[in-house]
């Protein structure tokens, strides 16, 4: 770490020279973030680029035999098939994880539920509403999101506030953002401080708001002394959440460092009520909403509004239709006959392919933003997964997972990793390791693992050589 810090300092002093000795403000959020192994930095300030983490979710898994060519052992190269063809251009940004196991130690496979819960929390749920441990995106957020404006961002394109695959416990799960316009307002509305706006005047009223809020919460501690222990624990979480809003207010008072990657996107306006509150949502709408949200997510990350984000393309019960079809995606997986000639369920395949296409569209937004001497995607790690492998029979061994992005140089990419019946938690542990979370083991019972997948991790002690940065 010392070495890396030195490199950054050197570059910073070089930049100071370039800028004619003018004072360079180093924004707290970036300093607090993990440093980029490559030592690349924001051209404008020399501050190290943070590495960010996200998840992407789609319901109903893949179509076996038509998504990825199977392999018997881990090697470079991913065999994209018809269902995943949209992801082929991202081969160098992706790793595919196949054949990992989800042992449940006698617990039931709650259909379309156990799969995502076990893979994201490391523990098999005890019932179909149970979140037995925090999802790992929150463990990462605890380590890196400290003073971002948004601790995490959660959204979905299916219009269901409950479809958020990030939760700290059964009783602690935020509502997902379901409206692109509301998401825009939250991110880039009047409270957004544009880092590239040369005019910056902190609003003194915000400081007063912050102090009054903090004071009110502080005095509520007397009241809490009167409560039982279980309630006190609930309030501990409440206080953590309060600090997040205090952070937001604090950030409104600081001038963020200039940031070339951050271009405030055009406003997204609310559709007329009769369109938004339609009674039916079909795949076309999901794709459209997701497209807008993906752009906003990518720019929110580039503009340093959040370091952890969770997007759900469809929900775990894939309650999505194609116009005029009597069956939803979920129903089709069970009731659509196998086409004897094709060897699969053709309509189900169409929906599954929409999931892969959606993931590709999501990645495209991150890849299209230049950051440092690479792209935003290079400084991200994005975990994508579903809750079943073959939804028709609810198999949860071999659920497809992807890790996209180079995580600031910590990830090797382009591999098809074969799990060989290892627990699926190795993927989450790998992500946490890449994100610098100090975690040695993760998961419980048979899902417990201490082994990140080293085949796709760059050794932190010997980072690849620092590239010479071109000033842009």
């Amino acid at each position: 770490m010392t070495v890396l810090l030195t490199k950054v300092r050197e570059r910073r002093s070089v930049l100071k020279g370039v800028l004619g000795g003018s004072a360079v403000t180093v924004a707290l959020p970036f300093l607090d973030g993990d440093l980029n192994v490559n030592g690349t930095a924001l051209a404008a300030t020399g501050a190290a680029l943070p590495v960010r983490f996200g998840t992407f979710y789609w319901g109903m898994g893949h179509t076996p035999g038509h998504a990825i060519t199977e392999k018997s052992e881990t090697s470079k190269g991913i065999g994209f098939l018809a269902e995943t063809e949209a992801l082929k251009p991202f081969e160098d940004d992706l790793n595919f994880f196949g054949a990992y196991a989800m042992p449940l130690d006698g617990r039931s496979n709650y259909t379309h539920y156990t799969g995502w819960v076990a893979s994201r929390t490391g523990t098999a749920p005890a019932h179909n509403n149970d979140i037995p441990a925090p999802t790992f995106d929150l463990l990462i957020a605890d380590a890196i999101a400290g003073n971002s404006r948004f601790f995490t961002l959660n959204a979905n394109a299916v219009g269901m506030p409950r479809a958020n695959y990030s939760a700290r416990s059964t009783a602690s799960r935020a509502a997902a953002e379901i409206s692109a316009a509301a998401l825009y307002q939250r991110l880039f509305g009047p409270e957004f401080v544009d880092p590239n706006n040369s005019e910056f005047k902190p609003d003194p009223r915000v400081m007063v708001q912050k102090s009054v809020l903090s004071g009110a919460i502080e005095q509520s501690r007397d009241y809490i002394k009167t409560l039982g222990a279980a309630d006190k624990s609930r309030l501990d979480e409440y206080f953590t959440s309060v600090r997040q809003v205090e952070n937001q207010l604090a950030l409104q008072l600081q001038k963020p460092p200039p940031n070339d990657a951050c271009l405030v996107p055009p406003a997204v306006t609310e559709k007329p009520m009769e369109e938004v509150k339609r009674i039916a949502r079909d795949m076309d709408e999901v794709i459209e909403t997701h497209g807008v949200m993906a752009k906003l997510f990518a720019m929110a990350v580039a503009c340093n509004q959040t370091k952890v984000f969770n997007m759900a393309f469809t929900d775990d019960f894939a309650n999505v239709r194609r116009v005029g079809e009597t069956y939803t995606h979920h129903l089709l997986t069970h009731e659509e006959p196998l086409d004897q000639k094709l060897g699969y369920q053709p309509l189900t395949f169409w929906f599954n392919k929409c999931g892969s296409d959606g993931f590709a569209a999501f990645l495209k937004e991150f890849k299209s933003i230049r950051e440092g001497d690479g792209t935003l995607l290079d400084n991200c790690l994005i975990h994508a997964g579903s809750e079943t492998n073959y939804a028709r029979v609810h198999t949860i061994d071999g659920v497809p997972f992807w890790l996209a992005g180079k995580a600031g140089g910590r990830m090797k990419t382009g591999y098809h990793v074969v799990g060989g019946a290892d627990p699926v938690t190795r993927i989450g542990l790998t992500a946490m390791t890449a994100m610098g979370v100090p975690v040695e083991s993760w998961g419980t019972k048979s899902l417990k693992t201490t082994k990140p997948i080293t085949e796709v991790l760059n050794d932190r002690a010997t980072p690849p050589p620092v590239k010479t940065e071109s000033q842009g």
Partner: protein
């Protein structure tokens, strides 16, 4: 009450006319005091009642998890995530800005500052203590009052505006745990020094959120202050006043919305090509129709069980199109309507609401409907399907099956499926005359629909037969008792509660199943207010769950 005395009373009762006396209410230990997060509806109701301001927070707060059949029970566990707090804070800012804006300040702020460009502690104190008492559902402590006045003063000074000071201070009050959580505050029980009881304000909150789904009004707060809610005679007087108030309907609506899980309407989907008549307006009206039908029925003092047989309801023009009945109404309002016997709409279960909710976007679902009847209306648990079902049994493309009954016969015949499908399908199939939008039909894929059914081994025919079967099954009446009690105390019904629930059940039967009487009886019961000693041992698991990496 001693055993001997209890027996004595029972003997007396036996000797007297039976209607004149009741068994005494059984005692229970009760659960430790807890705190329930305000639901979105409660938040909207409180803001509307305290300030006369409408806010829409639907779908914004951390979703409460339906637990033991009720969202009200999930509120007891609810935590607040960072996103959740952000949304509470944004709602608080919106509300506090509107309360103190030029339009509202004259009516909502009880005084005028000496100089509107400066702090005015006396006026701030008048407003913050008055508002705080309603929002915290008890008078502010001295420290709380001093803080909110000081905060208003600081913010007024910084902004050069007295009202901005109030805006800031009020916003912070609206995000305190004192406001967001309804907590059971307790005091030593004078009758039993070793026990705790709810204090007067906690009793007022319990009554108010149960009967009105909102914060206590001035009369109830005053009653709490005078200690009247601890005395059974004046408690009865207050409960009767509350039940006579128009807000009692708000309370009953909240219960039936929760009981019937009507929040699922928020994410209901229907395919516009398959069901062109099923518009957003129809969905909203269908949700209102089922609640309106029940409220009307129980308010008239009818037998609760007849909600499963009644043909009386209310319609709008939009609904009438889906029901395919002519109504004499030109605007969008409601009209009372009674279905004819041959229209096959018996009971709330055959209305569009439940038929559309427990179906798919483009088709009906006998399984989901059967399950909903079991779980929602009869409080019976249907297990989830196993993960490894081989659906190829039912998806043979060459199958000649045209109707749901033919397709589902495969479930009944497969041993792995039969156990549960025998519980759901015979009920669900008798709804097959209603398509996925709740429209009546006689055929599916041109084949005649056989809507015969079976409830616990008693066969019946079609919607009318099901209506009678549900009405006469003791499970439907005891289910609403169980849920209402659980809703009132905000926790699931445990072993400790069984005797009280049985007692309420008997009382419900004795009242000829008058729901309003049942509600009154719950509100007047000792069990409703009983708490055990607070649990003071550290909740280790809870602490662990929120421990962060830092």
């Amino acid at each position: 009450m001693s055993m001997k005395l209890t027996r004595l009373i029972s003997v007396c009762c036996a000797a007297l006319a039976l209607t004149a006396c009741e068994d005494p209410e059984p005692k229970l230990k009760g659960a430790p005091p807890d705190m329930r997060r305000l639901t979105e509806t409660q938040y909207e109701n409180v803001i509307s009642d305290v300030f006369g301001i409408d806010v829409d927070v639907a779908g914004r707060f951390d979703p409460l998890r339906r637990t033991s059949g009720l969202v009200a029970v999930g509120a007891r566990e609810a935590r607040i995530t960072p996103t959740g707090f952000e949304r509470f804070y944004n709602a608080a800012k919106t509300v506090s800005e509107r309360v103190t804006d030029a339009e509202h300040r004259a009516t909502l702020i009880p005084c005028t500052p000496a100089d509107a460009a400066k702090a005015d502690d006396a006026c701030a104190r008048a407003f913050m203590t008055q508002t705080g008492r309603l929002l915290f559902r008890r008078p502010l402590t001295t420290a709380e009052a001093d803080y909110f006045v000081k905060a208003a003063g600081e913010a007024a000074g910084a902004n050069g505006d007295f009202y901005r000071g109030l805006t800031t201070s009020l916003a912070s009050m609206l995000v305190t745990p004192q406001f967001l959580f309804v907590a059971d505050t307790t005091e030593a029980d004078p009758a039993d020094k070793s026990a705790e009881r709810l204090d007067a304000y906690a009793r007022a909150s319990r009554l108010s959120f149960f009967l009105w789904n909102t914060t206590p009004d001035e009369t109830l707060m005053a009653a709490a202050e005078k200690g009247e809610l601890n005395d059974s005679a004046s408690l009865a007087r207050h409960v009767d006043r509350m039940m006579a108030s128009p807000r009692a309907e708000v309370g009953m609506r909240a219960f039936f919305n929760d009981f019937l899980a009507l929040e699922d309407f928020d994410t209901l989907e229907k395919d516009p090509l398959i069901y062109p008549t099923f518009t957003l307006e129809v969905a909203e009206n269908a949700r209102e129709q089922i609640v309106k039908t029940i409220i009307d029925h129980v308010s008239r003092g009818e037998d609760y069980r007849d909600i499963f047989t009644t043909r009386k309801t209310f319609l709008t023009r939009a609904l009438a199109r889906v029901y395919r009945v002519p109504i004499d109404r030109t605007d969008n309002g409601w009209i009372s309507y009674e279905f004819a016997a041959d229209q096959n709409r018996y009971g709330i279960q055959s209305q569009i609401a439940l038929m559309a909710l427990y179906a798919y976007p483009g088709r009906s679902s006998a399984v989901r409907r059967g399950r909903a009847v079991r779980e929602l209306l009869m409080c019976q648990k249907v297990p989830d399907p196993p993960g490894d079902v081989d659906f190829s049994l039912f998806t043979d493309p060459n199958s000649p099956s045209k109707t749901a009954r033919e397709r589902l016969t495969a479930h009944i015949n497969a041993p792995a499926c039969a156990g549960c499908h025998k519980i759901t399908d015979p009920i669900g199939l008798s709804f097959e005359n209603f398509d996925g939008a709740g429209q009546y039909r006689l055929t599916e894929n041109e084949a005649h629909i056989d809507s015969g059914g079976d409830l616990n081994g008693a066969p019946y025919t079609g919607p009318e037969g099901l209506a009678q079967a549900l009405r006469n099954d003791p499970a439907t009446a005891s289910c609403v008792v169980n849920r209402l009690y659980s809703y009132a105390v905000g926790r699931s019904v445990e072993q400790d509660d069984t005797a009280v629930v049985n007692f309420l059940d008997k009382g419900f039967a004795a009242s000829k199943y008058k729901f309003v009487e049942l509600m009154r009886k719950v509100a007047l019961s000792d069990a409703f207010f009983t708490v055990s000693k607070p649990n003071t041992t550290a909740a280790a698991s809870g602490e662990m769950a929120v421990a962060t990496a830092h």
